[in-house]
Symmetry: D2
């Protein structure tokens, strides 16, 4: 007995005891009416071709401040099978869900349906029993997923291994699946890869715009902690932070992708996010010493832009006013601010100043506009 | 005698002995046919309303890697006169020139002609004797400067103290001076201030585009060494690094302004500078494992952009190709590089990829385009 | 009239308008019964062999968070005299004092009496009229200073120019001056130079221990803002922040020098400063899972040391306990903390843990000891 | 077949493709006659209670620049057994060794013999077949290890879970094992834990001084990449970089531990390492302007200390000379240098300057001395 207890005591929750080094928490604000949930819906572990135990995915997500992750090991590709001969396709999820219990992270049961192109790979999320997806015909598999109430994402449609020219295309098989509503989202971003064509497909076919890490090794191997890099995530605008609300939000396509320094999404969700991210305030017109001969009464307005997010915004002034202390394109640093002097040329109680946000896109080559109505302090 | 020698020995060339802390050297490449001289043509000392001895301006310039400076103390505004009652308007220049001897820095004798608007302030450079500029009528002063072979710059034409609405305007007096060719340059940038209208005046009237520090206190008071900030400078493209060649280049309007993170200049000089600043190289098309069923033969090209300058370039892809690993707007960091994957969609021996450089301007709201012809390694 | 007013309007308080870049404020805590005033008593301007206008010394001091400075231009060495022919030796002080008015900085009128060795250079502080110190015989000069109530410091007694072997020595002339109490302090630190022998002289002769910048050029030339370097300062422990209280504190020798990463002073003032600088707290003994067979009841104590100062302390554990997570010498970072596990080996309500502070000295090669009495949470 | 090949093609060597983020390579120089091999002899994977696949340990080691690692999963404690039911105790080693092939990393087959105290845990390295160590009696297990030519280390002898007072002690069982030479090394450092008593045991019993990571989760969870932290390693001084030479070096006890900012080892190996790590050079005596009255001929020597290692050395001047520009204790930064002025007080062709290295220890509270013989350039 002493032996057994002794050995048992050896097991240390080393992960819990260690310091919380990791990629810094991702920071974006909520938008009116919705919470902004930071999600990664494409994640692997040793239960397919990944290289970490499922609990590590929970720790990484908590360190990076995520609200939800999906465990999506390949169904058809399990190279560690001889060492990890799991009979239950839900096993990685079960381990991760146990690790996450009461720690504020939603863990979704998922699976990657792994096929040649077409249709390529698809992630089914919110599964009840992943084992039932082990079937030959991919349409049958997706019908089973639909039966379980899954939300399904077409993964990396421009992956060079399956799409050598890098151009995402809706094939006849995809047309058929779309007709049956067998998938509802598309990865516009996967890892280091972005596709204009995938974004256009999302817009044309009314699919959710998704960005995922598709992580296999430890997170820190891919994203430099020293330079505060982050994995691609999908920002989902949900009514509350629950699995049910998350699914509803995905079904309503309320998403924006945060990848490298870019934000990608529908105009209707990206603009509210940008508006919540940047505040513009004025403490009045520029003051200058008045003298008899000069009588300066400046009509140049002091404005402070403040950025509460991780994104460094590339702003393009498209207002009718020029800036007195910047050219028309400048950078508003992440979690920083910039002082602008706006040449209004007249004394007004308020001015409206629109900026094109060059590092955000709402369609291929189309950048959203965020406009600030700024009170000057005059009546 | 011992006493005197002793006291003499007390004088220590403290400046020479101290470590060389200062703003880091400004780095931009030469362009074909010309050396790129980094110049500041607007500088004050205790000999007008500045607060440092002239030798300090030399030290600051050497630390920041400048090639030329002009001492331009106000003629008509000398608030330290009761303590520094200099009779010779060339005195600050003389001290600075002695300090700079054989140290690789060109020091120009200059003076700031300091008047109400119009015509406001003007800097005369390359003066023989600044004392002769102490005259009442400003036109007469400028004729004297012309007689001495000076190059004259209209300073801060949008200065809010003299131009309350911040809009640079050519007045009738300026028209008259222009007709007589009594000034040849205009400050599009002064300190923290930029003017679209001044840029337009420079283009319309064929004036040299100038950016200046107008420094009064020690350099480190205004530009954070900790964040590697820099003063505004004028990059002048001269045949050789001499005073004569510098004047010739100014007369030919071969200038670009480097200010904050912006480059401002005529297209004909800005494009060669950008082309010399960024190199684009490919090591071929993206390689992917080939297998029987996939046979991937990617048509996506690996390209490395390398930036040899202090500017962080905001690049806008306006080519016919989309990027596989960036959206259409991205940042090429100062002295850094970025790896691009370009979706060429076919196998070609070379591709041409134009980018709009958003943080550079060649006219109000107009950004130059730099195009790279990139060999792919195929024949 | 317009002309004059116009010209007058040209004068811009450029220094006031500029951002407040500068060396970061020096941070050390008060000690029981006294305020810790950060002071630099050795400063030059263009009114002797310095290279900045006196107002700049005020700006630099405010940026670095100093409480008091003395303007101490050389009386006998004024190489700018032909350009700055000031008749009044109090002039630099007058300019600086005007600049500092109502800004929380004490400015002292001072002068550097500049002679061959012996006696070398001496700074007289708290002068009423520096002009009266222009006399031939140095003893007479010091008697005049005494008459004015001055506090006098022997400057850089180990300066290699005047003391080629670098060894500070009390000469017969110094003996005579000491006998008359004509100087009361000694620079143990001047610029980049420290002297064990000067420290010993201070201790033996009951002189105030002083460290000074002896600054000539702009501050940022010598101390890297990018690396948060600082000038040498004398920390003076005064009852209140007034000129009177400052003089009283100097007369009572309540000083510690802060130079590079070293603190140098009398044990009676250095130990209270160290005690106020570092706090030690425990949240109890290390907790470990208890099991039947192991029954761990650790006797290792968690302790957090917190450092509220700019100094990185090099601590040497000389307690009877060894550290479980450090060897006996370790660094407590500036404004940082370190977690220690102390092997107490028994359960006690409190422990006393003394550390030798290796980067502080109270006499040549003697380091002060700071001891923490730490409550463990047990009764 | 197409299907199978397609699925096979899915497996991407993601780890190979990803950027090489990781803790920076550990840098210490070779010493005369030996190569300095950086080794971690205590590592876990999913094959016991770790959370990564064995290949990840290889990647982490390569990124951190290690020369050798040992896979040392627990024999008796395998909490993932129900998911990873491996029958072969050599399996983790086999996977890691395959990953490391031809990549310059020595991978050792090891196992952690996991028992109550005494004797606690022991690592057997250089195993032929770890399966043969699955036996009841620990002495029998160690005899089997010895038969296989293993090198055995007593792990974390002061681990608070097994040694509540934190004091490493040689029990009668250990005495017996030592008598039979059944273990040859001892962990003086394990993870975040150091033991003076373990160091003393190593010295008294002629055991190899070992420091190990005992890593369970991904490396980046414990050691901040952003702050360039490193795992504890054992520096082994081997004739060549081979498994055979490594074992010989361990048997000869040629080791130094690198942990946090401390170096721990026998004087005979630590002093050569320090001597190889720091170079001291002089460019002569301090030069000063000579004048008639001063005739300075300084006897203060310029010396530059250069540090080629990751350690920030805390140096204590114990020479007969004082420093002109430092107090007696100062820091020589990692991969940095420091300029010293040494008050030699006479003109000599060379001087010998010994420093105590405070962040290195050769026995509890005993610091090694490194002495530099420095040529002054005089004859």
């Amino acid at each position: 007995m002493g032996r057994l207890a002794g050995i048992l005591a050896v097991v240390v929750a080393t992960v819990l005891a260690c310091p919380i080094y990791g990629n810094p928490p991702i920071a974006f604000p909520d938008i009116p009416g919705y919470r902004t949930l930071k999600c990664d819906f494409h994640i692997h572990t040793v239960f397919s071709d990944g290289t970490v135990w499922p609990n590590i995915r929970v720790e990484e997500a908590l360190r990076e401040g995520l609200d939800a992750i999906a465990l999506t090991d390949h169904i058809e590709w399990t190279p560690h099978r001889s060492d990890v001969p799991f009979p239950d396709q839900n096993r990685a999820y079960a381990i991760a869900a146990a690790e996450a219990r009461d720690r504020g992270l939603i863990v979704l049961n998922g699976a990657e349906i792994t096929r040649d192109m077409p249709p390529g790979h698809l992630n089914a999320l919110f599964l009840q029993d992943a084992n039932l997806l082990k079937k030959g015909d991919v349409t049958e598999v997706l019908r089973e997923a639909a039966k379980q109430g899954a939300f399904v994402i077409w993964n990396h449609p421009s992956w060079l291994r399956q799409t050598p020219d890098g151009v995402a295309r809706v094939t006849p098989l995809h047309e058929q699946l779309l007709k049956e509503n067998l998938f509802q989202g598309i990865e516009v971003v996967n890892q280091n890869e972005y596709s204009d064509e995938a974004l256009q497909i999302a817009l044309d076919r009314k699919l959710a715009i998704i960005g995922s890490s598709d992580i296999h090794a430890p997170m820190a191997f891919y994203y430099s902690l020293a330079e505060a890099e982050h994995r691609p995530v999908t920002l989902v605008f949900a009514q509350v932070k629950t699995e049910v609300s998350l699914k509803e939000a995905l079904r309503q396509r309320r998403t924006v992708v945060w990848w490298k320094n870019s934000l990608i999404g529908r105009d209707e969700w990206l603009v509210p996010l940008l508006t919540a991210s940047i505040t513009a305030k004025s403490d009045g017109y520029v003051w200058e010493n008045s003298t008899l001969s000069y009588e300066p009464k400046t009509t140049t307005l002091n404005v402070e832009l403040q950025n509460s997010t991780d994104a460094g915004f590339v702003l393009h002034n498209i207002s009718r006013y020029r800036l007195h202390n910047q050219t028309d394109v400048f950078i508003l640093p992440a979690h920083g601010s910039i002082h602008l002097q706006i040449n209004v040329r007249e004394k007004l109680p308020s001015v409206t100043v629109p900026f094109e946000v060059m590092n955000a896109i709402v369609a291929p080559a189309v950048h959203p506009v965020v406009a600030f109505n700024i009170a000057t302090g005059l009546k």
